[in-house]
């Protein structure tokens, strides 16, 4: 036989021609900056059991997840449903297949920092595949109502004002709703509602793990989706003024999750931003005539800085650089960074996550997120909860620690997760998170949903000694933007009906003041279009602002 070595070598070269060039993709953990060495003075400790917050989240199978429905968990909420000045806690819950009564939501009444389960007493015993919650005073009776999204019929829990809720089950369209937000997009003084849908999910038709390319993760068979499953979308409902709603807009073609509604382009009208999983995220600009235009791509809010779609989960709005403009942070799936969308004005945003130092932990599937000031230094920090979607995957743990990044100013953040207390280091497969001062001690605490466990309630024991101011707007002020001037800087915050991951932070806005002894000024851009300036006397207190009582 002849020697074919030469020819074979040439074939090898042909095969070698498939060698790939340099990849510019893939999320490596970015290098951490040198520790600032500045004291943080925040210690977060899980006190859930200690203060009576006992519950258990149910979400399908614990060790195996056959369907995507079982994977995403729920939102949580701080809300003061009885207006006693103490934020109560509402937990959305899922259920199990074949056990329709398993799970069920929880409502806990806050009794000066301790919690009592009032679910049954308050009429909140509804069970089902719950997703998230949004809160607003639909009937303008001064008491917050709660809308809960489900796979199946959504439910509006109307606050009776007498310590209870009346359940109003919406028509079951066989859809899987996830995000929602109350807003007043047409400035008629009535709350409207936007509801997002995740995927079209029909149990009887749902493909099984491993049955297609979209049902595998790194070669292992896993539940299918979201890609490959029918997309979800959104429905906008217009409030009719009598506490009922009519459908005003419907849009399909994306896998919708958390929905925030506020004025992102500073034109005085409430816009909508939706974190979307494995599809472009949406920015719906309010056209001021009852319609919206989707401008995610044009404004830089749909993709990452390189134009790639991401697995968007949670979103928070706040002014991280204290330029008086609302920025956004969005959490994403593992192997990716969050987005820190800096508002550069004119409704334009740029993703500065790398520059900000927030690209150091891409290994986690990230969900709930808050832009909140833990140490009251006047700069919004970032808190993020994590948890994989596949319970048993080699090398990718289901339970992860939380992350806390302190804001150093100058657009930079520093990962302080390891020095911020045991509640941050604690591992769980978390989803929703909410941020409020549940014990009224002047610092922000954290409520977290953990898959197949009870919630965490991280009490903030801050030793910073910094001042603070809490602001409560009349009528709830959903979508209002409050700008505080202190120490020569402007801090903007907004009142949201939903944020983080399918969660709600309560009505109160919390501003850190640093060492400032006084507030120089406070401006409220109300969703009605009115902008007013208020004088604030003193610090370390809650101020209640009534629309129409400030200076124009």
């Amino acid at each position: 036989m002849r020697d074919f070595t030469i020819l074979i070598a040439s074939l090898a070269l042909l095969a070698g021609a498939f060698a790939q060039g340099i990849s510019t993709q893939g999320a490596a953990a970015a290098a951490r900056m040198k520790p600032s060495g500045r004291p943080f003075g925040v210690k977060l400790t899980d006190v859930a059991a200690q203060v009576g917050l006992r519950a258990r989240f149910v979400s399908g199978g614990e060790s195996t997840k056959k369907y995507i429905l079982e994977a995403n968990g729920n939102g949580v909420a701080f809300l003061d449903y009885d207006n006693d000045g103490w934020d109560d806690i509402f937990l959305v819950n899922g259920t199990q297949f074949g056990a329709a009564q398993a799970g069920g939501n929880y409502l806990f009444h806050n009794e000066r920092g301790r919690f009592v389960d009032v679910t049954r007493r308050a009429g909140m015993t509804h069970t089902g595949w719950g997703s998230g919650a949004c809160v607003g005073d639909v009937d303008r009776d001064g008491f917050d109502d709660v809308f809960v999204t489900y796979w199946g019929a959504n439910v509006l829990f109307r606050n009776t004002g007498k310590g209870g809720f009346k359940e109003e089950v919406w028509p079951d369209k066989g859809e899987w709703s996830t995000g929602c937000s109350f807003l007043d997009y047409d400035r008629d003084g009535q709350l409207d509602l936007v509801v997002t849908r995740y995927v079209g999910f029909e149990l009887a038709k749902a493909p099984l793990p491993g049955s297609a390319a979209n049902c595998q993760w790194k070669g292992a068979p896993v539940f299918c989706g979201p890609r490959g499953l029918p997309t979800g979308g959104l429905t906008l409902y217009r409030g009719k003024g009598d506490g009922t709603f009519t459908e005003a807009m419907r849009r399909e073609g994306f896998y919708g999750f958390t929905t925030v509604a506020t004025d992102l382009n500073e034109d005085g009208w409430t816009d909508i931003y939706i974190a979307s999983d494995s599809s472009p995220s949406l920015f719906l600009r309010n056209n001021r005539n009852g319609t919206f235009t989707e401008l995610g791509a044009e404004t830089g809010l749909a993709f990452n800085e390189h134009g790639y779609e991401q697995g968007g989960m949670g979103v928070a709005a706040g002014d991280f650089d204290n330029d008086g403009r609302l920025d956004l942070i969005k959490t994403n799936f593992a192997g990716d960074y969050p987005n820190l969308y800096r508002n550069i004005g004119g409704g334009i945003f740029e993703d500065v996550v790398m520059k900000a130092g927030l690209a150091v932990n891409p290994q986690y599937v990230a969900w709930g997120v808050g832009l909140v000031d833990f140490d009251n230094d006047g700069w919004l920090d970032v808190f993020q909860v994590n948890g994989h979607v596949f319970p048993r995957l080699a090398g990718e743990p289901y339970a992860n620690p939380r992350l806390l990044y302190r804001n150093l100013g100058g657009g930079k953040f520093e990962d302080v997760s390891t020095i911020a207390g045991p509640g941050v280091a604690q591992r769980a497969s978390s989803r929703g998170a909410a941020f409020a001062d549940f014990d009224n001690d002047g610092d922000i605490d954290v409520l977290i949903m953990n898959m197949h466990e009870g919630p965490s309630l991280l009490r903030n024991d801050s030793t910073s000694g910094n001042g603070w101011l809490q602001v409560l707007l009349s009528g709830g002020g959903l979508g209002a933007v409050v700008t505080l001037e202190v120490g020569g800087r402007k801090q903007a915050q907004t009142v949201l009906s939903q944020t983080s991951f399918l969660s709600y932070n309560g009505r109160r806005l919390h501003f850190g003041l640093g060492k400032a002894a006084k507030v120089d000024g406070l401006t409220v851009a109300w969703p009605s279009g009115r902008t007013e300036r208020f004088a604030v006397e003193g610090v370390n207190k809650l101020v209640r602002l009534e629309e129409g009582t400030g200076k124009k």
Binding site: M1, R2, F4, L7, I8, A9, L11, A12, A15, G16, F18, A19, Q20, I22, S23, T24, Q25, G26, A28, A29, A30, A31, Q216, W217, K218, G219, A220, P280, L295, A297, E298, T299, G300, F303, H306, G307, Y308, E309, G335, G346, I348, M354, K355, A359
Partner: protein, 335 residues
């Protein structure tokens, strides 16, 4: 003449003789006649290895991979110890995108020649194509152990490590390559690239600069240097670097997009739009120039044009979703 040879060969009528004669015919360019003789030999002796192999080999050369695989499977059954058969069979399968089958056959070939680094190199590439990045890295590094003087093996290994999400290992390989080839532009660039990927931009810069010094026509260090400058908020200098990258390779879409970003950062929106239109023209199926163009046009107040650009981008994304997917690593399926 050919007819005479053929007739003579048929008179000889042993499979070996037919095969030898066929090889002479093939060498003289009479491939069809040669194939006829090998087929005749196989008819006479169905497990006649040389004929089976040569039929497979010829089919591979002619690009008839499906047929080649059939002959070569029979050849492999007839002579399971033959490296070339296993190698060629793997090649035929790989070219039919039967990645896993090809790799299984090549694993057999590698067992026959455990130090064949050319095969390791080919296998590493094929493992990567199948997203078996850990195996790709293992194979490339095995080749590297045998031939630490071969620079391309470092790059192959570090690419596989990077695709596997093992960024520290990829960086370490880049350092090793630079240690061995300190005057290599590529080795310098790779260290800079990995530092850049980790956000260590300041540290990356000297490596890009050295790569530029060593190789005047190397475009990528210019692009990455520009990217660092842009992140350091020096868009004018960044623009200059991106232009240098594009002078060296006009089809470098990523650099043109970056140039547009640098222009946007300087408020030169018309210029940015022009570059993006150029990028869209040069790289027709790529949605990214259209996406960025939609942002530029929106900033210019041309909302309808912006919307149109966005829609083109969306259409291209939908048409080729794999373009914008980062491949996930997976383990090679053993059976």
């Amino acid at each position: 003449m050919t007819t005479l040879v053929l007739a003579f060969a048929l008179m000889q009528a042993t499979p070996d003789a037919l095969s030898e004669q066929a090889i002479e015919l093939a060498s003289a360019g009479s491939v069809e006649e040669a194939v006829g003789l090998w087929r005749k030999a196989v008819q006479m002796a169905p497990a006649h290895f040389p004929s089976l192999f040569n039929l497979g080999f010829t089919a591979v050369r002619q690009g008839q991979d499906e047929e080649a695989a059939q002959w070569l499977r029979r050849a492999a059954a007839a002579n399971p110890k033959d490296f070339n058969t296993a190698y060629l069979l793997g090649t035929a399968l790989a070219r039919q995108n039967q990645t896993e089958e090809a790799l299984r056959v090549w694993r057999t070939a590698l067992a026959l020649q455990p130090e064949n680094r050319k095969l390791m190199q080919v296998m590493s590439v094929e493992y990567s194509k199948g997203r078996y990045f850990a195996d790709a890295a293992r194979m490339a590094e095995a080749a590297l152990r045998l031939a630490p003087e071969e620079m391309p093996l470092y790059f192959l290994a570090m690419k596989a490590r990077q695709d596997a999400g093992q960024f520290d290992e990829a960086h370490a390989l880049a350092r090793r390559a630079l240690g061995r080839f300190p005057e290599s532009a590529r080795a310098n660039f790779e260290v800079g690239f990995h530092l850049h990927k980790m956000g260590r931009w300041d540290e990356a810069m000297p490596y890009f600069e050295k790569a530029i010094t060593l190789d005047g026509v190397y475009e990528e260090p210019h692009y990455f240097r520009g990217d660092v400058l842009l992140r350091q908020e020096d868009p004018a200098q960044a623009e200059a670097e991106f232009r240098k990258a594009l002078e060296r390779r006009a089809e470098y879409t990523v650099a043109r997009l970056a140039l547009a970003r640098a222009l946007m950062a300087q408020g030169k929106l018309e210029g940015a739009a022009e570059e993006l239109r150029e990028a869209a023209h040069r790289d027709e199926g790529n949605p990214q120039p259209h996406l960025l163009l939609s942002q530029v046009l929106f900033r210019m107040g041309k909302t309808e044009e912006a919307k149109a650009a966005k829609e083109v981008s969306q259409r291209l994304r939908t048409a080729k979703p794999e373009l914008l997917n980062v491949p996930q690593p997976r383990p090679f399926p053993n059976r």
